[in-house]
């Protein structure tokens, strides 16, 4: 569904991504793991159209989307749940969700989608009128995911969805992602929580200093000595 081929990305003079290639098949969960500063967020932002790659191509559903502005990429069906949740703190939960349906592809089914999101996260319905900034961290993550789903994405990129959440909440979030994938959504998951994300993923990529150094199925990577040493402390 998504093909990233040999992309280079620079932030000023610093190279963030160096000939990165990856493939996300339809209805799969693909995990990207790596340390802080390995280029994971740069990769997501580049696919989302928020950075322009200096070289390489990005294809989504057989269409070249390299260099398209972010609002057009989003409208093609690539959603993202950004790092740090980024809810609109002073807007209500309902207003936050509505913001997810601003793109043209999602406008028509707004009412239907909002019901779906509430069915998926009943907590959000309970707090529909409450300012998003007053929600707990876990609820904010639910809201961020729900808001992204309001845009009717076919592929969702999750950037560190477990960051700063209590372990039990992390389980909830990851279960949600798995459920979404089973429901037909394609997921690109960026996580520092390597063990969990590789267990969830059908395919994983290890990103180091802007390069893909290793790739394989989630199970293969989990069994790899290098991965075990570097990320799992074994």
């Amino acid at each position: 569904m998504l093909f990233v081929h040999d992309i280079d990305v620079f932030h000023g003079d610093a190279q963030a991504l160096d000939k990165v290639s990856l493939e996300v098949p339809e209805r799969a969960i693909v995990a990207i793991v790596g340390a802080n500063g390995a280029g994971k967020t740069s990769l997501i932002r580049t696919i989302a159209g928020m950075h322009r790659p200096a070289a390489g191509t990005i294809r989504f559903k057989d269409r070249d989307i390299t260099g398209l502005p972010s609002h057009e990429v989003c409208d093609l069906g690539i959603g993202q749940v950004a790092e740090g949740r980024q809810v609109f703190p002073s807007l209500s939960v309902a207003e936050n969700l509505a913001m997810g349906a601003m793109i043209p592809r999602a406008r028509r089914h707004k009412a239907r989608n909002i019901e779906r999101v509430y069915a998926m996260f009943p907590r959000l319905l309970e707090r529909a009128g409450q300012a998003a900034g007053t929600l707990s961290g876990g609820e904010q993550q639910m809201l961020a995911i729900g808001r992204c789903l309001m845009g009717e994405p076919e592929l969702v990129m999750f950037d560190e969805p477990s960051l700063g959440l209590a372990p039990t909440i992390v389980q909830d979030v990851l279960r949600t992602i798995r459920d979404l994938a089973e429901g037909g959504l394609t997921c690109l998951l960026v996580e520092q929580n390597v063990a969990v994300s590789l267990r969830l993923a059908s395919r994983g990529y290890v990103l180091e200093n802007g390069r893909v150094t290793l790739t394989g199925t989630g199970a293969e990577l989990l069994a790899d000595d290098g991965v075990r040493k570097a990320y799992l402390g074994m």
């Binding site: 980024q86 809810v87 609109f88 845009g151």
Partner: protein, 338 residues
């Protein structure tokens, strides 16, 4: 967007009591001139005028979160375009508001493009808006075709002609009142539009808005351009009200600051804030000017600005979000409604 349908929806959404109250208020303002003398009419003109430009500025700052400290630029551009077309070519200001808006929109677009395309944000963007107003001031100061620093004058004619904005304080009272009401309705419609929601998202968190597929650049550009156009209309009216335009006053940064006080005091991002703020600030400023004249025996220029500064501090101290949000709470109007 059908304007009548939008208006009908706006009326439909507002609570009955609020509508009645608003209608009563408008009715009072409509008949008020019978009881007002020339001086009071001119005070009300200033209130309506500042409420209008405050509303326009509020689109940029209150709705979209983009700080402009150079809105005097659009007042001046509107004023000069209107006055020039009338004096040099005999074109009525009723028609001249269109080119006035277009010129202001073009300048707004240039400022916006420079700022938003190259990521100049926050205070730096505000500096950019100041720079443009200053450059305009210096430019008009040295442009002899428009009178340069000596000013540009609109001849006073004995015959009243409302469409040409020739007439007494009564005429300007009604023109400014109409302007304020139209600006209010326009802002109410804008705020509930898709564009208005995009502005809100940009104001709250531009990065998050981008991640949701909102075209942040377009939303910001629209805010600047619409705000500039509205301000330019007020500029045309101001030029004809004053009958003269001096670059050193028209484009002055003090004017830009004066314009933004009402919406800040009244409540940023609200619809009633700019109006309420103007109704509080302008009369107080006028009273102060009169008092100083009585006590000192002469007018001291700028004294009202000193007072505005003090009033701003006091009001923001007691109602940090502005007077309207505070009043709304007192009146028991629920959060999220005007």
């Amino acid at each position: 967007m059908n304007p009548f349908a939008t208006l009908a929806r706006l009326v439909d959404e507002a609570p009955r009591r609020a509508l009645l109250l608003l209608a009563a208020l408008v009715a009072v303002l409509l008949v008020a001139p019978v009881a007002l003398d020339r001086y009071l009419l001119s005070v009300f003109f200033l209130i309506f005028w500042f409420a209008t430009v405050g509303q326009a500025w509020n689109i940029m700052m209150g709705f979209c979160g983009q700080l402009s400290l150079g809105h005097a630029l659009y007042v001046g551009l509107g004023g000069y375009v209107g006055a020039l077309l009338w004096v040099k070519f005999g074109i009525s200001p009723a028609i001249a508001i269109v080119p006035a808006m277009l010129v202001a929109m073009a300048f707004g677009a240039v400022i916006g493009w420079l700022g938003f395309r190259f990521g100049i944000e926050g205070v730096y963007f505000a500096l950019l808006t100041i720079a443009f107003a200053e450059v305009a001031r210096i430019g008009f100061d040295n442009w002899s075709f428009v009178g340069g620093a000596a000013g540009f004058f609109i001849p006073v004619s004995a015959a009243a002609s409302p469409v040409n904005l020739r007439g007494g304080p009564m005429l300007f009272y009604y023109v400014a009142l109409a302007m304020m009401i139209i600006a209010f309705i326009l802002c109410a419609a804008l705020r509930r539009s898709r564009l208005g929601h995009a502005w809100l998202a940009v104001r709250e968190d531009a990065e998050a808005a981008r991640a949701l597929g909102i075209d942040v650049f377009r939303a910001k550009m629209a805010a600047v351009v619409i705000s500039a156009a509205m301000t330019a209309v007020a500029g045309v009216v101001y030029g004809f009200y004053q009958n003269n335009l001096f670059p050193s006053q028209t484009f002055d940064i003090a004017r830009s600051i004066e314009m933004i006080l009402a919406p800040i005091i009244g409540g940023l991002g609200t619809l009633f804030g700019p109006i309420l703020g103007a109704f509080i600030l302008t009369p107080l400023g006028q009273i102060l000017i009169a008092l100083v004249e009585k006590i000192a025996g002469r007018a001291i220029p700028g004294v009202n600005l000193v007072f505005y500064g003090a009033a701003l501090m006091v009001i923001i101290w007691f109602t940090p979000n502005g007077v309207w949000p505070w009043l709304k709470k007192k009146l028991g109007i629920p959060e999220g409604r005007e």
